[in-house]
Amino acid sequence: MNKFVTKLKLHNFRRFCHFSVDFNNKMNLLIGDNESGKSSILQALDLVVSGSRSKVETLGLESLMNTDIISEYLAGSKAFKDLPVMWVEVYLNEQNNPDLNGKNHSDGIDCCDGLKLLCEPMDEYGIEIADILKEAEPNFPFEYYAIKFRTFCGESYTGYRRFMKHLLLDGSQINNEYAMRGYVKKMYRANVDDRETNKHQNEYRKHKSQFRDNVLSHLNDRLDSYKFSVATNKKSNLEADLMITEDDISIENKGKGRQCFIKTEFALQKNSMGNPLDVLLLEEPENHLSHTNMKKLVSMIAGAEDKQLIVATHNSLICTRLDLSKAIMLNSSGDKPATLDGVPKDTAGFFVKAPDNNILEFILSEKVILVEGDAEYILMEVLYEKVARNQLDGADVHVISVGGTSFKRYLDLSKLLNIKTAVIRDNDGDFQKNCVDNYKDYISEYVKIFFENDNNLKTFEVCMYEKNKAVCDDQFTTGHIKLQPQDYMLKNKAEAALRLLENKSDELTAPEYIRNAIKWISV
């Protein structure tokens, strides 16, 4: 049976005061800006499922607990009973294990399977804590907090109880020796059962002593009272010495990109005993990968079966190719992240196949101007500045060229995420049909279509020429240009736009419908 995480709840963990996110049993894409908490979510899952106190201690409560809550507490009553607690709850699907099942979680009413990390002040140090809090300098008693791992049944657990096999793969840690050792150990554990591990370790120790007896003995015979032997202890044992090879070459000696690739591929593989891992947490898998390798990686991830994947990414390609409808967005400040599971199937499918695009930029924006092609895109910045007397970047307005008229695909997302979207399109000779009737299901306070009312002014170039005749005639009658200026503009759209931007940007005037669009979006 496939084991997976159904929900994660965070309380005072990192930047989250109260937060809850649902996962499905296969693919989950965490997307969001820097500092939006993608890594925190993966880290929280890793900490709870690992059940490792030392992991928590190494990171330090100081870095894990929400800093706002602590400042707020230190500025307030400073009473013992108000000391903030931090917890992380991982809800699991049905595990058929009574040790995991119970009501000891914040959802309270129903019995669920799950695991919880709880950090709370230790009652027995009430006096010491009060002393620290009394100090004039604000000082928080992190050291008097207990770190507890509990199942929802109320039972304590440690890393030895492997309720679930998981792995966190962090693309940015690829050259870190510690991370590498952690990876090898995890993959080893995932691929053997406990009995086998003990057998391996026992045999390894035996071989070491055989080496001492058979090989080192020649040396030791020559020595008097002091002899040489081979260490077997916590630092030198099987798990410390293991490495992973491909064609007899350690993967540590391969390039970063290749390493990234191998690690992910190995983690996704099944073995004859079944699935080594239940849950794979991937942090920015795009790191170190070339475009081609990234495409390979994506198809590998997309093909992974019977395994839950939680992928944090910045990358549009990864995001769209792995099915946009599985995306969970973390830029909102609310308690629950926005999800794209309401995206119509055909739209999600469109983005899987569509040319590489800036879909992430789009869904992470609050205001967007959608244009048809390169010419509009090139000139939009300068037109915007002229009309709004403000910079595009400063106003947080994004311009996206959809490369055609597939606006509706984007508008499906706008509708779902309430992104204020101005569509600027050509009327192509029939504004009623192309620009009004066509979008009647999408118009809302967030979505508006802007177009030229005069059916004779079919395209952007024609409108621009009308509005800027003198400038265009001046630019496009010179040298080797044999066409009429307007015809030249229509035949060489991007070229013409670029020339206008470079030479005449100060003198350009925006057509009326574009002016309206800019005014509407910048409000």
């Binding site: 058929n96 099942n101 009501k103 979680h105």
Partner: protein
């Protein structure tokens, strides 16, 4: 579904009965009261399967009560920190049963003897039943005769319709109570007939036939127990062994130093340097050969007057336990011969 109580005699194969039943049933829960019997069952299951299979869960009663019944439902709600094994102070009886203070001490530990009562007052018994039937198909309770106080009521309430339930016990081996609390079920073990009657009223089918003969004890031991102590027990074997009342210091010394014969004392066996245990504590042990029962003054007097049957019920039951540990011979030695060894 089937809901049975099997009243068994000592050495009649309760453990084997459970092991056999485990073979044919799917997911099973086994609860027993004493540590001795827990180890016993644990070993037998390991011998049978090479390990404890995932489908079988074995608990001692209090770990079952605390970790399977109380904690999943009430740990966070009441902020429970653990169990308090001391008897609650008398004054706590005046606290209302609906108040948490009645069940928890100041350090948030649950009084062990009130855990079962807490479950009933908090209304989580239906939850526990659901939990039982979610994870198990059959439910065995060994040493059921020791359930007393709130625990007896709880156990009776705890039989989900779709789980095959068997309670096994030897009424006469009732030497401990799981717990006591005031007058709750105070007279439960007064006599066998009313005990059976009470179980029948709870909807149990009472089976006194299946396990009425002892495999462990010889006809000699069985006859002695039936006639002298007044507790009915029959034997599966037909080989007679020996019963000997030791009446000389020399013979007593000889037995004292014989390391293959366990010396069972009424109490404080650790004060005597030999292979020994206490009568009550030997319950559930199946590994002794011949047994030497050391009689304290009072019991010795009763023996001499042939009035062992009228000993105080607890003492009589413990003596019954001690005698029925024997696979071979049974010796009675008056304690006076061993006083010189006492530390």
């Amino acid at each position: 579904m089937d809901k049975r109580v099997i009243l068994a005699v000592a050495g009649s194969g309760k453990t084997s009965y459970i092991i056999d039943s485990l073979r044919s049933s799917n997911r099973s829960l086994v609860v027993t009261y004493t540590e001795n019997n827990y180890k016993n069952l644990h070993n037998r299951i390991v011998v049978e399967y090479g390990c404890i299979p995932k489908r079988i869960r074995l608990y001692t009663y209090f770990s079952f009560l605390f970790s399977f019944c109380v904690r999943p439902f009430l740990a966070d709600e009441l902020g429970i920190r653990g169990i308090n094994w001391d008897e609650p102070s008398i004054y706590t009886r005046r606290i209302k049963r609906t108040e948490n203070r009645y069940y928890l001490n100041k350090r948030q530990r649950l009084y062990y003897n009130r855990m079962a009562g807490l479950l009933q007052i908090k209304g989580v018994v239906p939850d526990i039943k659901r939990r039982l039937s979610k994870y198990f198909d059959s439910f065995f309770v060994d040493e059921a005769q020791d359930f007393a106080g709130h625990d007896y009521n709880f156990l009776c309430a705890l039989t989900p319709a779709d789980v095959y339930t068997v309670l096994l016990g030897d009424f006469w081996q009732h030497t401990y109570d799981t717990s006591r609390d005031g007058n709750v079920n105070k007279n439960l073990h007064k006599d066998l007939d009313s005990y059976k009657c009470k179980l029948k009223n709870q909807g149990y089918e009472v089976d006194v036939k299946s396990l009425c003969k002892s495999y462990r004890c010889s006809p000699t031991v069985c006859d002695f127990v039936s006639q002298k102590i007044g507790i009915d027990i029959e034997s599966h074997c037909d080989v007679e062994t020996r019963f000997e009342y030791v009446d000389s210091a020399e013979r007593a010394d000889q037995l004292f130093h014989q390391t293959d014969i366990i010396k069972l004392f009424y109490q404080s066996h650790h004060k005597f340097h030999c292979f020994s245990d206490n009568w009550g504590a030997s319950k559930g042990v199946d590994s002794y050969g011949s047994v030497c029962v050391v009689l304290n003054k009072k019991t010795d007097d009763h023996y001499k007057k042939d009035r062992l049957a009228s000993l105080a019920p607890k003492t009589r039951n413990k003596l019954y336990v001690a005698c029925t540990r024997s696979r071979g011979d049974l010796y009675f030695v008056p304690e006076k011969y061993y006083l010189k060894y006492k530390l």
